[in-house]
Symmetry: D3
Subunit: 338 residues, 6 copies
């Protein structure tokens, strides 16, 4: 039976230089709309759930375009407010080989989402009947009002028995100098509310200030993640380890810690077409497993395969169906499908 899942987060316009030109060289941009919340709930809609986005967009042609785009992705619009004046934007120049991709943001702090005042949303109505709600560390970095929204919605969902999911998603440039110190209390507040957290040992060390004498990442993970779960009372924690190999392919391994046990996916190695949003595909796979009662081992394999496929698709937003992910879990890359 399909579940009802919401995400709270900003919708941003992605303006991408096609091909491998720089902004200085080109004169054309492809645009789309995305955001962690968009990626999560549209992926869950693709898996058959009802995905709602809780956000605010302006009532102007940019807001109209964003809303139409979200509709196309299958995102339900019941909780999309139309207010404020601006949509956050970012520009993407694709890297190639030794040259990294570049992301340039415009001022997102003035966006409709980030200026929605306290009291703007009706938390009780949104939380009613929700099976799960998703939050993200990017949103947490915005401002106090937005952080207030997050806490209120998390509490409302918790009260009504829904699952609270929090993806740490720490972005250094958003927190500025002394970022970890600034971020820590807010992360702790969200982790205490979370039933399922997306993070790995680096978040534990850097944001939460935990210490370990181990030097191998896997050892650090196995020591720190259970400690995080205990400290903050989190039922399940999931995340990935990624490595970029010499030939440009990526290697990715997922983990899921629940019921005091780790499950690990195989290490997937694959070519990358569009890196952005792949972490959200992983999170949506974990959440789908949780919502449908998959065993941990299958959940983590499903999530890793979902993440792998998200690297092969244009745009931030995962586009794979459950059937495509299941097939990618079992088959090797083959010839044309016809």
């Amino acid at each position: 039976m399909p579940k009802k899942v919401a995400a709270f987060g900003e919708v941003m316009m992605r303006l991408q230089v096609p091909g491998y030109e720089l902004l200085t060289q080109a004169d054309t941009l492809k645009y789309s709309f995305s955001g962690t919340g968009v990626n999560i709930v549209s992926a869950l809609a693709r898996f058959g759930h009802n995905g709602y986005l809780v956000t605010t967009l302006p009532a102007n042609p940019l807001g109209d375009a964003a809303v139409a785009y979200l509709r196309k992705l299958g995102v339900a619009q019941d909780f999309i407010r139309r207010d404020g004046k601006y949509v956050g934007l970012y520009f993407l120049e694709n890297g190639f080989g030794a040259r990294p991709s570049r992301v340039t943001y415009t001022n997102r702090l003035e966006s409709s989402f980030n200026t929605a005042p306290a009291g703007a949303y009706d938390w009780e109505a949104i939380a009613e009947g929700l099976d799960a709600v998703h939050f993200c560390g990017i949103t947490l970095a915005m401002n106090d009002t937005v952080r207030g929204h997050m806490v209120e919605l998390a509490r409302a969902v918790k009260r009504k028995g829904g699952l609270v999911v929090f993806d740490c998603n720490y972005r250094p440039t958003l927190w500025g100098e002394d970022g970890y110190a600034k971020a820590k209390p807010h992360y702790i507040e969200m982790l205490r509310l979370a039933d399922l957290a997306m993070m790995n040992e680096k978040d534990a060390i850097h944001i939460l200030g935990m210490e370990t004498s181990r030097t191998v990442r896997r050892d650090q993970l196995e020591e720190l993640i259970p400690a995080v779960a205990d400290t903050y009372g989190i039922a399940a924690i999931a995340g990935t380890h990624r490595a970029i190999l010499g030939d440009g392919t990526h290697a990715l391994q997922g983990f899921l810690y629940e019921n005091r046990q780790f499950a690990f996916s195989g290490t997937l190695t694959f070519a990358v077409y569009d890196r952005i949003g792949a972490g959200d595909a992983y999170a949506s796979g974990i959440l789908h497993g949780a919502l449908t009662g998959m065993p941990s081992g299958r959940t983590v394999e499903f999530a890793a395969a979902a993440a792998m496929l998200a690297h092969t698709v244009q745009g931030d937003t995962p586009m794979s169906s459950e059937a495509e992910i299941v097939r990618a879990m079992t088959e090797t890359a083959g010839d044309i499908e016809r």
Copy 2:
């Protein structure tokens, strides 16, 4: 001999939906960089002068792209500061026939230009040797710091004997409610500093609150413009009357009032490809006439032809050479040039 002309103003990124789709329908944008100041000094550079832009752009890939674009247009970069974080943007959806074009702005108040603090520019160095400097009413609408920059630069140029040009360019959406009342003292301050003003009788009535019993536009113009010149001590005032005809073509007539005399161009009727920036082409034609000592009658014909051609060119920025404008003044539209 080429003159040295500067304009003070913001550089904006123009993001245009190609063809006639709406933002909701398309997924591609063409981008360029423009602004009244850009349009004026690049047009003057095309006429053989040295055109400087006095502005601030961020030291990031968007700023780099803007600067490269300005270089391509022939704008000298000696007075372009690199500071702050953002570039102002606007989105353009082309209208067709009965459906008007739509412009949607993002938050330009946070742009590098609009956040450059008092003291950021070295006015003495900029004013040194300038033959003329150009300001625009759009810039005047930004904030007090920017208005402070305008007055300081205008005074510095005046002190050193350069010509101060002010284009009223009143944009209702920038001044908000009670806009005319808010704008009036700032306009008066700039008009008192101006040697050459770009405006027409509507500006006199609405911004300056002048009154007339005449009902025909031409009569109002002939009554009010000399009064403005007298009141504020402005040596020359120029502007246009535009009408949009039933078949979608535009009719444009320019005027130039100097030495207590009006000169009028013929009324040009023409098809329109890209409306934005055509007013700046007119202003640059007037300024070119002033800088090179053309008689009033020729200046106004030259400026009107420059404006007409600017409607036939892609983008905000005039692209016609002096030779092309002179030919358009004398010839009727012909067959292919080969």
Copy 3:
């Protein structure tokens, strides 16, 4: 209060050669999805109603693309079946001036919609709570099973008190030789079920075989339309007269006959960007008037303005909001909106 409106009809893929090249010259196509039903219910959704499409699309990547496109347009998907194998397609080469546009169809008779068997749809569930349902003469031309669907749905809606709308939309190529004779009984069956019909005097003469001694179109209309209303028991009949003028602009006048009275819109003259689907914009305007209780005169002006704007927009599907249509009813074409 928003109404619940459904349309029964096929979704076709439109494959358009960009610009003015022929299929023989180009190598690129723009695609979108449309159909009379799509156009009607998406326009009504844009006016604030809940628009449902009753159709069948295949469960393959083309069907997925169609469904996502419909979602983007705001069409509710509750009654979209996924079954069968094919999507109907048509190719469009834009005409220019003396050269007419060309439409080339592929075999739509094998499409999912046209092969959905009797019993495929749950008419009772669909009709429940509907305020209106829309049918079109194009659909009527398909085959007996499809005609059976139409009659069953129309009867179910009628039983439950909803409004039945039928747009004659006669397409000669779909009925083949002796088309009018073949079509007549089916049209009569639908007209007897209709509360609101879209047609003009030509349909009365050619399809229904009615005769008139008048020679002026307006006179024929005023004689025959009331007769049609009486004969088939239709509460309201609406339609347009269109003329293509020498300079390529179109002139359009709408009429609405209800309560034994004609209302006529003014004759609108306008430049045309994309002709296809403009008739559906007119029909959706009439239906919006009916659903919201507008007086006849306003309804017909609203519908005519909606049709005019639909000619200025890319694609088959009307894209104008109610506010934009109302503004077009009152204003003359103006300068840029900013």
Copy 4:
């Protein structure tokens, strides 16, 4: 029965800036291959004849692309030599309204065609069985070797009983200073060989130095064209009068003088999409009439309609079938064909 027709001429690469940008603004070009000969024989192939091009193209990727393009147009390749090093190129910037189109050539004198030496072609083999051969004044402007080719081929065809067609097509920039004087002897040589000439009274006056006291174009035409036919022994002469109207549409009237009688087409008025090559469409219509024995009146109407349609098609090369031209002769511009 299809006829066998050849044209002797250069194939050029056309590099067109898409839309209305200038070379300075854009970064993309559309390319195609054309030339008077290409246009003529491909049009005749479209009318059902066998069209041969006699030309030389280099054996490199540009030559391969040109040859493939000609094949696509239906041009037979039996007489296309592959030799030399270069393809002539021209750049096209589309004008808009008051701004004329601009054509910029590269150095065509070094092209494979213009450097093919005397003796390069086998004239007897080419002339064998030809019903007609076409030459053009553009080719005549190239160099003495090319002019030698023209005369030899014209003589060979004449000897074998084929029709010699010469289109005056005078291009001032190709002949340079004192162009008319330089050109005159070469034109006279070709006109003496011609059975059918394409020209009008301006060619008679400027190239041939004929004089007239009439001042009205039509009168000059009716005086001078019979004189040309007599002087040079030309059986038939055809041409057009074109006017560019105030609203940008063109008005075109064709004439055909044969058997000492003038036939005139109606004056066609139409919107123009791509002007280049329309004269060749007219010439191919005249030639088609001559080859199939149409009466003069029908020939000239057919040719004028062919020219009109050629203005509505992308590229230099006429794309209309005989059926489309015949329909354009009889119908007014209508709605969509479907």
Copy 5:
């Protein structure tokens, strides 16, 4: 001396989403026309032979575009019938890495080719003077009338002494359930007519139901292919073994069994740009070897190199010249050619 070769087969329109977007994401398609027969005879035309396609296309704009495209490829049109109503189409979404390409067909059974009735083609005229004719297992899957065409043409060519080539090309989705059983008698019929067959051991096992106790592919091949040749009286059999390697490159080895001897190419390893049609490039290489009397060893190397290059070219149709293939046989990939 060039040979005269025909292929019997359908021309399909390929509609490809550019780049790596899905149909659901994009709005643009690139189109071309292809088919096994098209690929074979155009490749042979590129090698200097005269290549004829025996097919049927509709007399509408899609058929015109297909025919022009075939002309561009150098395919002779003497045996292309214009009849029926539809062109078969397929949509292609490019895969990337772990995500496979997807092909979606429209209803090809209604195409002009697949509805051409018995007696539509003049087999005697077509077979006259042919050196070889090519058939493909895809065509064999269509319907009984098409299979009847194949057998009649094969017999006619055999009677007149031409070579009959049959490429097994088994496509599971075309034969449906119990496909191998349904297909077997038709394959046997064609193999009995064939002088040269394209297949490998998998076809022998699955279609022909042959058995082997070997487990290594190469061993199976060496056992079964000679048995097939003996059983059905086939003079030569050729095919490939392909492996997709971990880094996404493909490894390909060709074989040719004739005169009771196997020749094998080296195993080529290469990056793949466009996989579709590469098998046809191999077949055309084998056929070119047969037509020009190459020794087996050189033929199989030539064919393998042709197949490798076909993977590097946009579209289904091989584009390499004989010289380019020969160079690829001898050189390693190098730097820019200039």
Copy 6:
């Protein structure tokens, strides 16, 4: 402190088929302007120096487009003459894997640059205050007048104390048969004038006719380069060794011989997006090191990293800033920059 550097060389228009189609398949080209001199001085401008190009371009729309493009790249225009008639052009078809890229030139010998007569440039003015001037072996291949320009400018710069840089850049197709013999005296003349030469052991062997008994490239280099430096009195010689690896990546090692010592960079291995112009990036890195007094070891690492990054950028012209190159020297390829 920024240095003043000039390059003498031709500006060519690059016309590139987008993606991987051939000229025969596509219909669109991307254009840009480049040349060794352009690449060198624009890279140095990007490093903060003042870069001048000494060249001639026609006063037509192609020349205007080239000049605007150079301005965008930051090239100073003081020494760009506008004269002559043509711009040299080349067409680029991108290779893929086993299929090499193809470059097709048009006739550059007639270009404005190659027809500028003796005395056209004011060498004294150009040489005044120059810190360095750059020449290239491609230019040396043009004609005697151009070679005369080179020698005159080199001498003028030498006289005034500037550095003379000569890049051997031998292109076989430009010198034709017996190319090395023809080229040798001209190369010797330039090497005698050079303070810094770009070359490797192959140039010494093939152009200068030097001999070595060594067989390993590195050994040959270490023997011959010091001998070249001694023989011709060159203070510093730099160059690269490149290998194309089996998986298509390139390996590149740079060297710099100065003060009788070799410095070698590490061997960089990287994926290649656009190969053209990467050698110029290397040269500009060496020159930047020379101008700013970097130690040899750092210069050669900087130049190699600049060359590596130039392979990842669209177009001939290096686009990396000094900061980006320094980062590439120290970091491994990472994830997205945001």
